[in-house]
């Protein structure tokens, strides 16, 4: 047994120096201060949204189209509808391709090509939204010769795809291999297993990914600036310029008219409600997930 190393009593029982304790206190306070400073703008934004938005929100706002400059009243009904139309177009392209790419990565993509696709999806995620707008302009608007909801939908679809792809892959990989094996053991073909068993098991997670992508693009403005372009009137045609909530808020916010400023707040409130609803729907679906698949 080695001799105990003599330690000076003062070393082990001396209190931590005042300097070190002060530093500790300052840093802890600084961290807490940081939290406060970050929460402040958040609180302020929501407070103003509600306060100013509610004031301008009325039935007219939700049902009428914009009135000409200078006239009071009017609303953003066409913009709300337009956002819906554009999101519908975007989802119809983005969701199938995104889920398909996710299935590819999880079930067939454990190889070099799969790694390349995975990497590219992450790259695609980081492309600035304004650049996506330029590309959608080049592919759709230039080809057709005019702005359109379709072009806006294409731009948003491009932005939805990487998110949906990666979350779908993640969720599918969470499904234990034993579940797939059980299906193979019953003589179920591979494609049927992937769709009816694997994807089915991962459904709530996949839906979460889709709704998150949806919520993210619902508020996008930049890619719509020169694709959907905006419209003062109702538009249900895919091939015409269309109003969108985010575009309208932007246009009104930078305008010099007070009336439009008021309506911008209302529009922003509607937009944030839309997003909050989408994100909450995600949580509800995810938690109810399990026994929806009773045959």
């Amino acid at each position: 047994m080695p001799d105990a190393i003599a330690t000076p009593a003062s070393f082990t029982t001396a209190p931590v120096s005042l300097y070190r304790r002060s530093v500790n206190l300052i840093m802890t306070s600084a961290a807490a201060l940081a939290v406060v400073l970050v929460l402040l703008p958040l609180g302020a934004i929501f407070a103003y949204l509600v306060y100013k938005g509610i004031g301008a929100l009325n039935w007219d706002f939700l049902t009428q189209t914009p009135k000409p400059v200078g006239e009071a009243g009017g609303g953003m009904a066409n913009a709300i509808a337009g956002t819906g139309l554009i999101l519908l177009i975007a989802s119809s392209m983005g969701v199938p391709i995104g889920i398909g790419a996710g299935i590819y990565l999880a079930e067939y993509g454990r190889n070099r090509l799969g790694d390349l696709v995975r990497f590219t999806a992450d790259v695609l995620n980081g492309v600035p939204s304004i650049v996506v707008g330029i590309v959608a302009y080049a592919i759709v608007v230039l080809t057709q010769g005019h702005f359109s909801a379709l072009a806006g939908g294409v731009a948003l679809a491009i932005m939805m795809i990487p998110t949906i792809t990666r979350t779908t892959e993640e969720m599918l990989l969470l499904v234990p291999n034993a579940v797939r094996e059980a299906a193979y053991g019953l003589g179920v073909s591979r494609w049927r297993t992937t769709l009816s068993i694997t994807l089915r098991t991962a459904t709530s997670g996949v839906i979460t990914g889709v709704m998150l992508a949806f919520a993210r693009v619902a508020g996008e403005t930049a890619p719509l600036l020169f694709t959907a372009f905006g419209n003062q009137y109702w538009n249900w045609k895919v091939n015409q310029p269309t109003a969108a909530l985010s575009l309208q808020v932007f246009t009104y916010a930078i305008s010099p008219f007070d009336e439009w400023h008021r309506q911008a707040w209302a529009g922003a409130l509607i937009l944030i409600i839309l997003i909050v609803v989408a994100v909450s729907a995600v949580r509800i679906v995810a938690s109810r997930g399990m026994l929806k698949g009773a045959s």
Binding site: A178, A182, Y184, L186, G187, V188, T193
Partner: protein
Amino acid sequence: MGVGIKVEHLNAWFGKTQALHDINMDVPANHATAVIGPSGCGKSTYVRCLNRMHETIPDARAEGRVAIGTLDVYDGTPAVQIRRRIGMVFQKPNPFPTMSIYGNVAAGLKLNGFRDRRRLDEIVERSLRLSALWEEVKDTLHKQSGASLSGGQQQRLCIARALAVQPEVLLMDEPCSALDPISTGKIEELIFQLKENFTIVIVTHNMQQASRVAEFTGFFLLGKLIEFDKTEKIFTTPSDKRTEDYITGRFG
């Protein structure tokens, strides 16, 4: 009159590593045959070659002749068709988590296109009775999820699911190793009754289980079939010294 399994010159590989070497075995019909051996001896691989589950692993392959009755497993018939004739129960119970009990049992049929609803109800009940689960779940067939049952019940559910497609052969890969002794007992009782109508091959690392349940036993070591005979003979007067060493616990 059930069907037996005739295995001739079966070899199997994982990539470059050979896992099974020239296996020859005659599994008799309507009996239970146990496959025993130390860890890594190839017994699971062997059984998974019988219904071509082995090839679902990337880079895995098998060659040889396996005949289930008159059905030649490796003659080019699509694996999917083969597997519909053979039932498999895995080591860890794996019911489909999003399906109800009814859904789980019916899965093999529904996913393969079977549509007749009334017949399906009958088959589900029959399978659950066969696997001794019916009385416990008959009231909550549609409401309870397959995954919410206890371990032993889940395994019986998986047996019912395998039986629902009415195979002639049932392969069981250490079906009780994840279960408690009471559930294990129930499943062993089940096997005893099932073998009147099915040919069963059961992989087990538990020698007592083999002697309780199976009339025939094959002993595997390092990918080779060392000895195959009546269970009684294997456990009392084995012909090969290696078998004797394993039985008496000298290794494995």
